[in-house]
Symmetry: C2
Subunit: 385 residues, 2 copies
């Protein structure tokens, strides 16, 4: 098929040309002054996206690696952990804690909804002896296209001393997040989402309070060890060989992000979400996520009649070279997910909506041709800021 | 300074233009058929470099991550481990085992020498009750420019059932290694050495015997878990988001490596080593590694008089834009290390030798201008195959 693929996944996302070019620079000594300058610059940049003045380490890893890093550094075997889950990635965070010896109490919410802060408040209030050492929660749950209100969850914790540890892998840079202002202790992210670079870098930001707790932590670890990481960072190095080409990309992507401004990026993602959701609705299709908790990074669309999402996906691919994600686990074939995260153009989304109308019509569903496109256009007309 | 830097590190190594170009391809769905084809192709390719028909997993990680993967999958807390160390990376392997609860007995050898198989034989023979579960050892020790005779070490283990786990991070593809033929159970490597791509991929090859032992293993793990990794590999996927751009590079680099032929690559590295060592000697300088155990990936050169290596390094950098590595830990300033690994041209090495002569002369050492270059040229003249 002619032309580049439309990649509408909740990560990896398309790479800007500038970022691609930057990654072509030749290798350098990762223990030399040139790499030190890059490392310190991107460290500052990523911290500003997090909204934190505290600590940040960058690992050669996927986002899941960063989740593991948070558990092995801040949770000791036997520690009680309250795990809030609204989907696959919430379950994953709980599983990692469990695998490393934590006593996990899981608060699961219906897929497609965000966690209810009142339920969290209740669970926290029951812990009179303050035995819970950490609350772990997902910021943006890509498996369901739903997000959690992290600020409200922190408030629901009241004065409980448990660490608040947040999986921001797909949310950071696409959805409001203010680490220090909200009082988050540990926040994880990765390179292949709003940061617009290929997968392979994991980020872990952590507060000084978390660092103090790390000092008494006795979990098994080596690769993810924060003490070693910070010792090397002080010298302008990473403990182990960094993924140099991805650092080049991150440096360039950050300069684009800081030029656009974090607030503007968040607003842009909010516009994408609202535009896509209203267009899908105008086509007569249903959405999994509730309105107030719908992700700005990915929209989960239910297949009419409760099945056939994978056929829609393969028609989108074969007919138009558009890649959208499927449903995971129990939502396989029930829905597909449309990513609108990172380096995505408004007009690409319009084209995808138009293609979806054609595919739905050809699949025998009653769709009024142009209904979604029209709605999206109106959105573009209105949403000027 | 005009022109590209001469990067003579024991990793990262220069990236071939073809590989660089390959990494510019747009992102794809890592759970789709296109990535599956790449994954299966590079899996076959990397296994052929290892000389194994068994299992291989590729992680988004540095080489140290792959070392950790081997420990958490094949060593249980309390297991006795015999750790053979001839330098920094041997010590690191031992430390990882220790951090994850192993009872480590360390056999350390003088830096600059390979492990004596007789000493290994003795240690193994003492273990009448076969309590040692694994022997861990470095293939090529970059910190000293020395390698271990893995085949002889395996023979020294006689019929002891301990797993033989080898850190091949810098050795694989630069130095002979035959995983299956030698009876190695677990072998780790990384992308930024003989594979000529940027850092960020860790490789773990393991035998079916190791996999069986993994079945009873109870160490803490999630990210590195072999069961999960193999489950996804069967579907043509990785358990967690792979470093896609590095896979593109690996695919291209492997096609270059397989076209040159593993045996020819090993011979080429052997020629580089012999040429560099004879040139350095002709300049009147001493080498750390003993002749029979000298690395084909990196040559450790002692600074005349026992100090001043860092000044030589900074003159090489400032005068000629040549980056060579320093000595690590107790060898800091005592020596420098000249990498000749991966995508390095013979004439680059000649130029570096010429530059070193000038730097040494300007630093006040008695060096006959041309002595090293002449020796290297003679080598090129002779070594035709």
């Amino acid at each position: 098929m002619i032309g580049q693929q439309y990649l509408l996944l909740p990560g990896p996302t398309p790479i800007p040309e500038r970022v691609q070019q930057a990654m072509n620079r030749p290798m350098i000594n990762h223990r030399g002054p040139e790499f030190r300058d890059i490392l310190l610059e991107v460290n500052r940049g990523v911290k500003s996206i997090y909204g934190t003045d505290h600590n940040l380490l960058i690992y050669p890893s996927s986002g899941t690696g960063a989740l593991e890093a948070s558990i092995v550094n801040f949770i000791s075997p036997g520690d009680k952990v309250l795990a809030i889950s609204i989907g696959v990635f919430g379950d994953r965070f709980a599983s990692i804690a469990q695998n490393f010896g934590a006593q996990v109490e899981k608060l699961s919410f219906k897929w497609g909804q965000g966690a209810d802060p009142n339920v969290v408040r209740e669970a926290i209030s029951k812990d009179k002896e303050k035995r819970i050492k950490a609350v772990v929660v997902t910021h943006n749950e890509t498996s369901t296209g739903t997000y959690n209100d992290i600020k409200a969850i922190k408030e629901a914790m009241q004065d409980h001393p448990a660490l608040l540890m947040v999986d921001c892998v797909s949310g950071l840079g696409a959805l409001e997040f203010q680490m220090d202002a909200w009082g988050v202790d540990v926040a994880l992210s990765g390179s292949q989402k709003a940061f617009m670079i290929p997968p392979g870098l994991g980020f872990m930001a952590f507060s000084d309070r978390a660092l103090k707790i790390h000092g008494q932590n006795n979990n098994h670890r080596f690769y993810w060890d924060v003490t070693e990481g910070l010792k090397y960072l002080e010298k302008g190095q990473t403990a182990f060989t960094p993924a140099i080409s991805l650092f080049y990309g991150l440096q360039e992507a950050l300069s684009m992000m800081l030029a656009e401004g974090v607030d503007n990026i968040i607003k842009r993602h909010l516009r994408y979400r609202n535009m896509v959701r209203s267009a899908i609705r105008a086509m007569g299709m249903d959405l999994l996520a509730a309105e107030e908790q719908a992700s700005t990074a990915v929209t989960a669309v239910l297949a009419p009649g409760g099945a056939g999402a994978n056929q829609i996906r393969s028609r989108m691919l074969n007919r138009f070279n558009i890649v959208v994600a499927g449903g995971q686990q129990e939502l396989d074939d029930v829905m597909f997910r449309l990513g609108h995260l990172g380096y995505v153009r408004e007009l690409d989304l319009l084209a995808v909506i138009a293609a979806l109308e054609i595919v739905m019509l050809e699949s025998g569903f009653k769709v009024e041709l142009g209904a979604g496109v029209n709605q999206a256009q109106k959105f573009m007309l209105r949403a000027e800021d």
